[in-house]
């Protein structure tokens, strides 16, 4: 018959958050690591190694917060990319004057090609233009059948890449001065709209980003407080045994940093999963909009930044807790 203890009413018993088990180890003695930082790290890692639910759930919550933070940035980055794509792949149409011949057209085309950022230059013959017009008019195209002569001029189309809207406008103005060019048109309505949407996103995103980062620091500080409370007897005793500040505080700073780092790593993974998952939806968007959105993941630099932000917030949370709960 094995003995049964009903002694402690909480799993914490008198010790930390862990049920105090009676150890009778066969190993001769526990490892006493000399290095101060090794010791601090060991202490910080201990609750994680012991699968402390609160430490791992805190890590998860931090990961969530940073994922939301990261996702907002991902969305912003991509919205801006889309905005730029839209702008830079802006279709510019150049209508030539009536009576311009193929030679002059070729000359203008050459001049346009000389401009930076111009791609996909195509010549549109009056005949081609008429077919397109008919397509545009739908039901009403029949009336064009009654035309005796094609009244449309030559035109040119090209796209510009790597230009913002202002630059496209300047380019269009310049092309308008070329000999034989009647008028130049380009569309930026869409860009305006998207910019408004991105603006809304940015507004909401920044609002939440700030709150989320504050939340992460607070969450870490809370878990550290948990450890401080769980270890308050230990710390009081260590003080009486003559422990100095560094001996007592450093493990908590490590714990905060660890918490933040693990959370941030989790966030990187989660963001990645989300990114992959969103691919399907984006494909649908692409089909629906008839565009080719290439959604980018966060850059290496941004990922590193995310992890650093996590660690910094972790340390900040630890400092907050130490200042608040470890009166010295």
């Amino acid at each position: 018959m094995t003995p049964r203890e009903t002694e402690s009413a909480t799993s914490g018993g008198r010790g930390g958050g862990k049920r105090p088990t009676v150890r009778r180890t066969t190993k001769t003695e526990p490892l006493i690591v000399g290095n101060f930082h090794a010791r601090s790290f060991r202490h910080a890692w201990k609750p994680f190694a012991e699968k402390s639910l609160s430490h791992w759930t805190t890590t998860l919550v931090i990961a969530l917060a940073l994922t939301i933070y990261g996702t907002f940035h991902l969305l912003l980055v991509n919205a801006e990319t889309v905005l730029n794509q839209w702008e830079s792949s802006n279709l510019v149409t150049v209508f030539m004057q009536r009576g311009v011949d193929r030679n002059m057209l070729a000359g203008v085309g050459k001049a346009i090609k000389g401009q930076a950022g111009v791609t996909h230059l195509t010549y549109v013959s009056p005949k081609e233009a008429l077919i397109r017009l008919k397509g545009m008019m739908g039901e009403e195209a029949k009336l064009l059948d009654e035309l005796e002569e094609n009244p449309l001029p030559y035109s040119l189309e090209f796209r510009v890449t790597g230009h913002n809207r202002e630059q496209v406008r300047a380019l269009a103005r310049e092309v308008g001065t070329f000999p034989g060019v009647e008028t130049v048109s380009y569309d930026h309505q869409w860009a305006d709209r998207l910019e408004a949407v991105v603006g809304l996103f940015r507004y909401v995103g920044h609002f939440f980003s700030l709150l989320l980062l504050a939340a992460v620091a607070l969450i870490v500080s809370n878990t550290i407080k948990l450890t401080i409370i769980a270890r308050r007897d230990e710390m009081e005793i260590m003080r009486f045994l003559g422990a100095d500040d560094a001996f007592i505080k450093t493990p908590f700073l490590y714990e905060g940093a660890l918490q933040g780092l693990l959370g941030a790593s989790g966030a990187v993974v989660l963001t990645g999963v989300l990114y992959l998952g969103a691919h399907g939806v984006i494909g649908e968007l692409n089909r629906s909009f008839g565009i080719m959105l290439s959604v980018e993941f966060l850059s290496i630099g941004q990922l590193i930044l995310l992890v650093l932000v996590g660690a910094t917030l972790g340390v900040a949370g630890a400092l907050l807790s130490l200042a608040r709960f470890l009166e010295v």
Binding site: G13, R14, G15, G16, K18, P20, T21, V22, R23, R24, T25, E29, P30, I32, V33, G34, R39, D233, E234, E236, I237, M238, R239, F240, L241, G242, A243, D244, D245, F247, V328
Partner: protein
């Protein structure tokens, strides 16, 4: 050397637990501190390791006024004083070995030296067998002995004991006194608070008697002398 110069300790409640006490404990001396429950014995001890600061007067340990110690100096003071607490103050989430080793870690001892010294000290208090148990698995008296081991493992120049035999039978009590006496022989200054007058009378060490916060007399070899200036 520990000196009290006209020390008064007034707790936040307004209660004067120590009243204008002057006292000198020379280096290497062994004193008992006796008195009724609430006489102020623990308060005197707390003043020495600066768990409380005097309201009036000065406590001087090894020539230093404890009140004037900086943040960095306080840990040094405490490393030099081994305290056996009335309520043990053990950590119940680690083994007896680790409890005692903590005192050495805190003091920054060479990690290589720790295990040997810890084991020796535990064997001295009769706990060699119980080394890798948690204190929760020990009887009250055994826990008290772990506290004694922790207080002495660093061989501090001063050992302060608050009722170190309160949970021990007479025989084990004598063994502990003998142990502290042996430290005293090696030059350690010992101050031992107890309510057990019999035990305090058995060895030839002087006994400081307190009543309601004041020292009413110091007894040496059975004869009383007045309170020191």
């Amino acid at each position: 050397m520990i000196q009290f110069h006209n020390v008064t300790l007034r707790y936040p409640t307004g209660y004067e637990a120590v009243k204008k006490v002057s006292l000198t404990l020379p280096k290497g001396s062994f004193h008992y501190l006796t008195g009724h429950s609430g006489a102020g014995k623990s308060s005197i001890l707390k003043l020495i390791y600066r768990a409380v600061l005097p309201s009036e007067g000065a406590v001087v340990v090894e020539g230093r006024n404890v009140e004037q110690l900086t943040r960095r100096q306080l840990p040094m003071l405490r490393r030099g004083i081994g305290v056996i607490f009335q309520d043990f103050k053990l950590l119940y989430d680690r083994t007896v070995f680790e409890n005692v080793a903590l005192a050495m870690e805190v003091a920054g001892h060479d990690p290589g030296r720790i295990p040997g010294q810890v084991k020796r000290t535990l064997q001295n208090v009769g706990l060699g067998e119980r080394m890798y148990y948690n204190p929760i698995a020990l009887s009250g008296g055994e826990q008290q002995r772990v506290a004694i081991a922790r207080a002495t493992v660093n061989c501090p120049p001063v050992v302060i004991a608050d009722e170190p035999t309160g949970n021990l039978d007479k025989e084990m009590g004598r063994r502990i006194i003998a142990l502290l006496d042996a430290l005293h022989q090696q030059g350690t200054t010992v101050l031992l608070a107890t309510h057990d007058l019999d035990l305090a009378g058995e060895t030839g060490h002087p006994r400081i008697e307190m009543r309601e916060g004041s020292i009413v007399g110091i007894w040496r070899d059975g004869t009383a002398s007045g309170s020191e200036p």
